[in-house]
Symmetry: C2
C-alpha cells in the first residue's frame, strides 16, 4: 500500500456532552422498574475478564439462582447477553426448524411478537386468539391443539401489554399428549408471581432482568429443558442465528468454557446481586409482598372510582392495567405524573392504546410507600384535569 498522509479529524460531531444528570424517576410503568440500590452498586464494580476463574464461579452461581427463581432443574439455564426480546428470540431460533408448526396464544402484544419472530425462522405459525386481557382455558387450548398439531405451543404467562396471567394447570399434560413443546413468556412474572417451571412442565422459558428481578435491562434469563435441548440437537439445519445459537453459547456456560462472545460482565454482576436478594428474601415472601402491594393499589384505585381492565382472578400483581375514564386524556395525565412527580406510568400498547394506563409494582418497587405516593399524585392530577 502507498503511504498517504492520514485525513484530518473532523470535530463536527465532537459535541460538548454534559455530565450525566438523569432525573430521579420512580419507575411504575411496565418496566424497566427501578433496580435495587445494591444491584446498582454491583453494576459499577470494576470488571474481571470473561474467562477469569472468579467470573466462571460467578456464572455458576447465577445459573443456580436462576434455577431457584424459576423452580427448575434445567441444566441449560443461563442469562442471554441481550434484553428480554433476545432471550425470547433465542427460544424460537434454537428449536424452530423450517416448516415446524408453532401455535401461539395471542391475547396481547407479546403473542404477536412471538409470531413475528417464529416466522423469521421459517415456522408455519398458527394462532389462537382471545380478547386482550383475557386468558385461555384448557378446552380452548385442546381444540386448537387438535386443529393445528403444533411442534411448539407458545403462551405468555404474564402479558406485559394487558396485565393478565395465563393459568398453566393442565397445559403441560396437553402438550405431552400432543408431543409438543411448551414455551412460556415469563418476562413480567419471574421473581414476582408464583412460577413453577418444572411442576408445570414448561420446556422453554425466557424473562427480562428489568421487571420483578430489579436489575437494569441488558441481560435476559433463558432456560431450555431436556425435550427442547433434544430438539436443538436433532436439528437438520444449523441455528439461523449465530449470537443466540445455544449449541455454541452453552459451551461457554457449560463445562468447556469455550469462548463464544464476551459476556457482559457488569450486567452479570447486577443480575447476580438481584438474584442473591431474591434468594435472601425467599420466593414465597417475595410473591406475597407483590400480592399485598398490588391489593393495596387495587383497593386505592377502587376508592377513587377507577376500574382495572383485567378480572381479579387472573390479574397480575406485578402489572395492573387501569381503565382511563371517559373524557380523560390519558397521555396528559401520564405526562404530568412524570414531569411534576417524577413518576413513570405507561399508556396502553397496541389494541389497548389510549384505553388504559399500565402501572407496574415490580421487585424493589413493590412497596407500600410507592402505592401511597402514586395514588395521591394520581388523585391530585386527575382532580385538576
Amino acid at each position: 500500500m502507498i503511504a498517504i498522509a492520514p485525513p484530518r479529524v473532523s470535530d463536527r460531531h465532537r459535541i460538548h456532552a454534559p455530565d450525566l444528570d438523569m432525573p430521579p424517576r420512580l419507575l411504575l410503568g411496565p418496566g424497566p422498574s427501578n433496580a435495587h440500590p445494591r444491584v446498582l452498586q454491583a453494576m459499577g464494580l470494576r470488571q474481571v475478564g470473561h474467562l477469569d476463574p472468579s467470573f466462571l464461579e460467578l456464572m455458576n452461581q447465577v445459573q443456580e439462582l436462576l434455577r431457584y427463581v424459576w423452580q427448575t432443574e434445567n441444566q441449560l439455564t443461563i442469562p442471554v447477553s441481550g434484553t428480554g426480546s433476545a432471550a425470547m428470540e433465542a427460544t424460537l431460533a434454537n428449536t424452530v426448524e423450517p416448516g415446524d408448526v408453532v401455535l401461539v396464544g395471542v391475547n396481547g402484544y407479546f403473542g404477536l411478537r412471538l409470531i413475528d419472530m417464529a416466522k423469521r425462522y421459517g415456522a408455519d405459525t398458527r394462532s389462537i386468539q382471545k380478547p386482550w386481557g383475557q386468558a385461555f382455558d384448557l378446552s380452548e387450548l385442546r381444540t386448537a391443539m387438535e386443529e393445528h398439531r403444533p411442534a411448539i405451543l407458545a403462551l405468555v404467562h404474564a402479558e406485559t401489554s394487558t396485565g393478565a396471567r395465563q393459568p398453566l394447570e393442565g397445559v403441560s399434560e396437553l402438550c405431552r399428549e400432543f408431543d409438543c413443546l411448551l414455551l412460556l413468556d415469563t418476562v413480567t412474572s419471574m421473581g414476582g408471581v408464583p412460577l413453577f417451571l418444572d411442576e408445570w412442565g414448561v420446556d422453554m422459558a425466557y424473562s427480562g432482568s428489568q421487571k420483578c428481578l430489579s436489575c437494569p435491562p441488558g441481560i435476559a434469563p433463558l432456560t431450555l429443558g431436556d425435550r427442547a435441548v433434544e430438539k436443538l440437537l436433532r436439528r437438520k439445519t444449523p441455528v439461523a442465528n449465530w449470537y443466540l445459537d445455544m449449541s455454541l453459547v452453552s459451551q461457554y456456560w457449560g463445562g468447556e468454557r469455550t469462548y463464544h462472545h464476551t459476556a457482559p460482565i457488569n450486567m452479570n454482576y447486577g443480575l447476580y446481586m438481584a438474584l442473591k436478594l431474591i434468594a435472601e428474601e425467599g420466593l414465597e415472601a417475595r410473591w406475597q409482598r407483590h400480592q399485598e402491594t398490588a391489593d393495596r393499589l387495587w383497593s386505592g384505585l377502587e376508592e377513587m372510582g377507577l376500574s382495572c381492565y383485567v378480572d381479579r382472578d387472573i390479574r397480575l400483581p406485578s402489572l395492573t392495567t387501569v381503565c382511563i375514564p371517559d373524557g380523560v386524556d390519558g397521555k396528559a395525565i401520564a405526562r404530568r405524573l412524570l414531569t411534576e412527580y417524577n413518576i413513570e406510568v405507561a399508556g396502553g400498547l397496541g389494541e389497548l392504546g389510549g384505553k388504559v394506563w399500565r402501572i407496574g409494582l415490580m421487585g424493589f418497587n413493590s412497596r407500600r410507600e410507592n402505592v401511597t405516593l402514586l395514588l395521591a399524585a394520581l388523585r391530585q392530577v386527575l382532580s385538576e384535569a
Copy 2:
C-alpha cells in the same frame, strides 16, 4: 381452570450467595479492558425509562459521539443492545439476502466468524486467505474481487486474534468499481487507532464497547451508510433476525421513537460517559497516547529479548501479539501473572494458540504505569520459569 393448591417451593438451588468481591484485575488481554472509573460510576446510576425524554436526549448524544469517534456522517449510527458479536451479526443480517456473494478477508479468527455468520443468512461465502498476522494488499484484493464479484467485501481493520491492522487506502475505490459494499470490523481499533470511516468509504462497521472505548461489554456500536441502508430497504425478504432488524430498531433510534425492545439503560449510561471522555481527550491525542504507550511496550519487550509476531508497520498499538519463546509454557506464565500479579494477558486464539501471548493496551489502560508493571512482572515470572 380448576383451582389447585400451588406446588411447594423447592429450596434446592437457593444457594447462599456471597457478596460480590471480585479480584482487582488489571485487564491487559485482548478485552475486556478496564472501564474508566467515571464509566463505572455512570453504570451504577439510577435508571430512567427507555422512553423518558431525558433518555431520548441521551440517545441523540450517544449517536453524535459515535459519529465523532468513527468519523462518519451516517444517520444510522447506534449502539446495539448486545456485545460486539451482536453488532457484527447485525451488519450481515440486515444486508445479506440469500445467494448474495460475501467475500471475507480471512487473516485471523474474526474473519472466520464473519463467514460463519454470513452463511447463516444464506450468503454464498467466499474467502481470500492470508497467513494470520499479515494484511491484504490492494492487488490481492483486486484479484479476489475480479474472481468473486461479491455484493459485500468484509475486512477486519484490527484483528483481535493477531494484532494486525488492515490498511484501507484504496479499498473503497475498488469496492465502488465493483459495486460492492465494504464492511469493516473495528472492534479493536475504534477509539484507539486512526479510523476514518467516511474518508475510507466504509459502508458498514461495528465495534465493541469493552476495548479502546473503556466501557464494560454489553453494548456495541453499529453504523450503516446510505448504500447499506438502501440494500436493507430493497430487500425482497424480511431480515431473518428480529432482535437485530435495523428496519425496526432504527424506528426507535430515529424520529418515531417506536418501542422495539427495552434499551439497556445503564449500558447506555456507561457508553455515553466513555464517549464523552473521548470527545474531551480528542481523537488525535487519544490515538497518539495509544501509539506512545505501545511503543514503550514494544521497546521493553525487545530489551527482554522477546519478539512481536506482527510486522511493525501493521502492528496495532491496541493489541500486541508476543511470540512465546521456545521451551516456555505460555499458559503457565499467564496464569502466574494473573494469580500473583492480578494482571490478565491472554494466549493465542485459533492458529496462534500456544504460539503467542496477546497483550492489550486499550483506552483507559493505555498508560505508562501499566507497561512498566507488566514488563517488570513478566520479567520476574519468566526468570523464575
